[in-house]
Amino acid sequence: EAGVTQSPRYAVLQEGQAVSFWCDPISGHDTLYWYQQPRDQGPQLLVYFRDEAVIDNSQLPSDRFSAVRPKGTNSTLKIQSAKQGDTATYLCASSFPDNNQDTQYFGPGTRLLVL
């Protein structure tokens, strides 16, 4: 079974530039999560979807970040006008309820450096 895939694996931007990250979850997984992981910190939830619906985006900086999952499968996270503080690894995860256990499977992440 293929795991969660993300692209690109690395991105380097100047402040003010835009960038998009793509995530392809495990086939059949209805829930998809985006996390931001700054260096030497734990992953911090940005947004998550069940199918195409946003369940929680309360931690997503809405002025510059947006996330979509239009068909309930792949997802895109976009940063408009990146800032140095956005430097982090962006992780995508997916899950499917199985015996009341939502086990998350994470992709390898996209490492973003904003200069």
Binding site: V4, T31, Y33, Y35, D40, Q41, G42, P43, Q44, L45, Y48, I55, D56, L91, A93, S95, P97, Q101, D102, T103, Q104, F106, G107, P108, G109
Partner: protein, 111 residues
């Protein structure tokens, strides 16, 4: 914040030693997940313990959960070099099935 500690902790031990990592959380949860993250990779779930369990074992791993003190621990018996990784605990804040992660413990096992 969900967590009592905010900064990555670091532990260094010798191969063959036992080690215990702790985490505390502030809000109610029905489950504590323990993940390990290897360098350059995403976290991977290694053990999950529910609020009605006090202890859970999986191979050399043992997790405990004390809901009264809102704390959990992960122990590794006879650590091996390949156990070197960052270990996180995560809780399901507000029971909405989106795990929230603590700061983590960077474990180094030396030969």
């Amino acid at each position: 914040s969900q967590w009592g500690e905010e900064n990555l902790q670091a532990l260094s031990i010798q191969e063959g030693e036992d080690v215990t990592m702790n985490c505390s959380y502030k809000t109610y949860t029905t489950v504590v997940h323990w993940y390990r993250q290897d360098s350059g990779r995403g976290p991977a779930l290694i053990i999950l313990i529910r609020s009605n369990e006090r202890e859970k074992r999986s191979g050399r791993l043992r997790a405990t959960l004390d809901t009264s003190s809102q704390s959990s621990s992960l122990s590794i018996t006879a650590a091996q070099c390949e156990d070197t990784a960052v270990y996180f605990c995560a809780t399901d804040a507000n029971n909405n099935n989106a795990p929230r992660f603590g700061a983590g413990t960077k474990l180094t096992v030396k030969p």
